[in-house]
Symmetry: C2
Subunit: 147 residues, 2 copies
DNA sequence: ATAAAAGACTACTAAATCTATATACTTTAT
DNA sequence: ATAAAGTATATAGATTTAGTAGTCTTTTAT
């Protein structure tokens, strides 16, 4: 499961994506719109700012905005940035690799082999889907929902 | 990430799969072979027995064995049985569904939509791969490894 | 110049979950 | 009868996650 941190980050980026090009958006606005605890969101946005994904502006009229076009921000980036595991086993993770202590020979582990496949399938989707894609999907969903 | 419980369960089932048709295998043997804490493994095997996946025999010469052919036990079953989440979001899980409290309209959530896709891809692999397949994979891996 | 707005940064706490261990009991083979 | 092996429940310890609190800094408006 993804952590709340990762979930909140994705939600916030979608909101900021919709706002791309406009004036910076305040944390409290994002927080109330998306039902995210404000103080928690502060930390998350800060992380993403420090990673270069967002810019921030202090003072009156300040807030957060996307640095890049939402079409260039991929979901996998957000997962990794917020520490979300893409792989289901540590020994299969590309960015957070860790040996399984119980395993004697990783190279011949059949369970691992299956989860490499799972990781590849997941990674394919998450590295092909951008925040802009998510926004597009939402528009389609809303259309279908209203019918 | 999968829990250790799930990982241990899968490992144990692979060992029991290799032993299918033979005499019951003792917990302590499985535990030492796979480097799993014995007492922890006891609980896990019990769970799987209560779920009808394993049989057990008490007393001298007792132990555990698979009830069904390893070709008929699918990885997804093991994940679900040991509480492992297949989905990356609670609102996307088929067997452990839970509403995301922050979400206002699930039906039009783009993030969710993407993770439905991820779940489907994962599920496809895990519900097509049996313990017997894992054992086969291991044989292939060993062959390639020895070359 | 000053006050208010808004983010930056650090620390901490509470809750949940996971992993593992301990203890006592039951069944079965010899 | 005894030893081997699983059954069952409780609990402890560790780790992670989620969330809160408080203070500091920067910027804008007046």
């Amino acid at each position: 499961m993804l952590s709340k941190k990762t979930r909140y980050a994705l939600k916030a980026l979608v909101v900021l994506g919709k706002n791309f090009g406009g004036a910076p958006m305040q944390i409290s606005k994002i927080a109330s719109e998306e039902h995210i605890p404000k103080k928690f969101l502060e930390q998350i946005l800060l992380d993403m700012r420090n990673a270069g994904l967002l810019y921030s502006k202090k003072g009156s009229g300040g807030g957060y905005g996307l640095v890049k076009d939402p079409a260039e921000i991929y979901m996998v980036q957000v997962l990794r940035l917020t520490g979300g595991p893409v792989a289901l086993l540590p020994c299969v993770s590309l960015n957070f690799y860790q040996k399984c202590d119980e395993c004697t020979n990783e190279a011949t582990c059949g369970v691992r082999d299956v989860f490499v496949e799972v990781r590849n399938a997941t990674l394919k989707i998450l590295s092909e889907t951008s925040i802009a894609d998510v926004i597009n999907r939402e528009e389609i969903l809303i259309k279908n929902f209203e019918e």
